[in-house]
Symmetry: C2
């Protein structure tokens, strides 16, 4: 296959935590870490699009993934460059051919449930019918490995709290772990990262990263937008330590996405597409035998 033309990205990461003084219950002034949070205004071809509030770990990937998940850009090759400048809190996106009809496509607002980018442009729900997720299965052992990998991950959450984390796995192997003040930023960052990846294909060439063997993990709830974004990325599994909302459940059932919530230690609940999950109940029981 021909080479993919990737966008040129700046590399404007920024400190993720800062220290502030707080007074505890004993009346003592104590220094605590809190997550940073910065406004980042996105300009597409010099037109102001939106302001995102972000931790600032991977702003270029965030902007790329935001454009992807909002369906404002159809191919990574449409983006020529993304330049982030924290001095002015701006991300300048240059496209190769402009965005058709951008006024109309950003006119309709839906204020949604989840953390972070509660606003989605356009009619994402209408696209849901067109999504076909690849056939794929995951074993219970792999679910446990994923939950354990997240448990061991060093994070801003551990040092400062108040952020959401998302990760992308190839089966049980963690590929990327992202945190942000809103989990939508975190999943958008993953979507941006995926667009930049190339994988070897059986013919020895390169191809865009496949989604069949991928698993999406979020510390936040499985709301409709998280399920939609996972489905948009073509990822057939979404795992969370938290629960699911009705719309998340409905969308997951509609597109055949396997959602697994309340995943801590050996416990979990598979809310949708359980046929994608290869059960190994003896693994759940093994812990109990150890305890007993």
């Amino acid at each position: 296959m021909s080479e993919v033309l990737l966008p040129r990205l700046s590399n404007a990461s920024a400190p993720l935590t800062r220290e502030v003084l707080a007074v505890n219950e004993f009346g003592e002034a104590t220094s605590v870490s809190i997550p940073c949070e910065r406004p980042l205004t996105v300009y597409v071809d010099k037109r102001e699009l939106v302001t995102l509030m972000t931790l600032g770990a991977c702003p270029e990937l965030l902007v790329l993934g935001f454009l992807r998940n909002q369906r404002l850009v159809r191919s990574v090759e449409d983006v020529e460059s993304i330049d982030v400048d924290w001095e002015v809190g701006a991300a300048a996106v240059k496209t190769r051919h402009g965005i058709d009809d951008i006024e109309a496509r950003t006119a309709k607002r839906v204020v949604t449930t989840g953390c972070g980018q509660g606003s989605v442009f356009g009619d994402l729900m209408e696209e849901i019918d067109q999504i076909g997720l690849p056939p794929a299965q995951l074993t219970q052992a792999q679910v446990y490995d994923i939950v354990n990998a997240i448990r061991l991950q060093e994070s801003t959450y551990k040092s400062a709290g108040s952020v959401h984390g998302c990760a992308l796995f190839r089966r049980e192997q963690m590929l990327i772990f992202v945190e942000d003040v809103g989990r939508h930023n975190a999943v958008d960052t993953i979507a941006g990262w995926m667009w930049l990846q190339q994988e070897s294909n059986p013919e020895g060439g390169l191809q865009p990263m496949a989604s069949t063997d991928k698993v999406f993990y979020t510390t936040g709830r499985l709301t409709s937008e998280m399920v939609i974004k996972s489905a948009q990325m073509g990822v057939p599994f979404a795992i969370s330590r938290s629960g699911i909302t009705q719309m998340g459940h409905q969308v997951a059932a509609q597109v055949g996405l396997c959602t697994i919530g309340r995943a801590t230690n050996r416990h979990f609940l598979c809310y949708s597409s359980p046929e994608r999950l290869i059960m190994q109940p003896e693994l759940a029981a093994s812990r109990m035998r150890v305890v007993a």
Copy 2:
């Protein structure tokens, strides 16, 4: 004072949870409660404004508070009626005089950090400078009473999880407790409720509910929007079991709002305006004596 003209509201509450089948780690199909989540499209004088995703407990108060907190309506008397019809998922708002300049005022979008209504219209941050919070203090004992009242509160969270709760207190007395799939909906619902309340004044008449002696509680993080919304309501205290983000901290310090996070059992951290908090460190220590 002359009588306040309150809006006429429908009373369209709806079931808050539903049962779905999930498969647990032993491979057993098990019935679990999940929170309901419904799209509610708001029409103001027949013009479509926004679609909110909501649990559906108090949709009319939610819509009223949304209009208030987005500064689209300046006085409760400007709203003639709010009719919610779940059959079509619509809230029809009728105003007495229309909303001036509604096109321009809903044109600017900021996608924010928090759960729920991540999108705010206009330049709320610009209003921050104009906010003056009343002088008020809270004792450590009252903080503990508030945390305890929340702990004892029956809730959808306890039965189904995956929702955020907010409450308004008069000092340590809980006035209203609201849950929603996004905590912004919950705080907007409280703002709507406050607008409908009348309190006795010293002259024996009625006046709009005062904010001086009020305390806002949220189960979610103290993000900038939560702090802004508390300040907009004139409430000088915000308490959370969770932490604070940098922008939340910055805005709270700017307006002199007392933020108290990590509030569980006897522990808490006061991040801003500690002069509003009357410390009683002996209360923090008393639990330790009991334990020892």
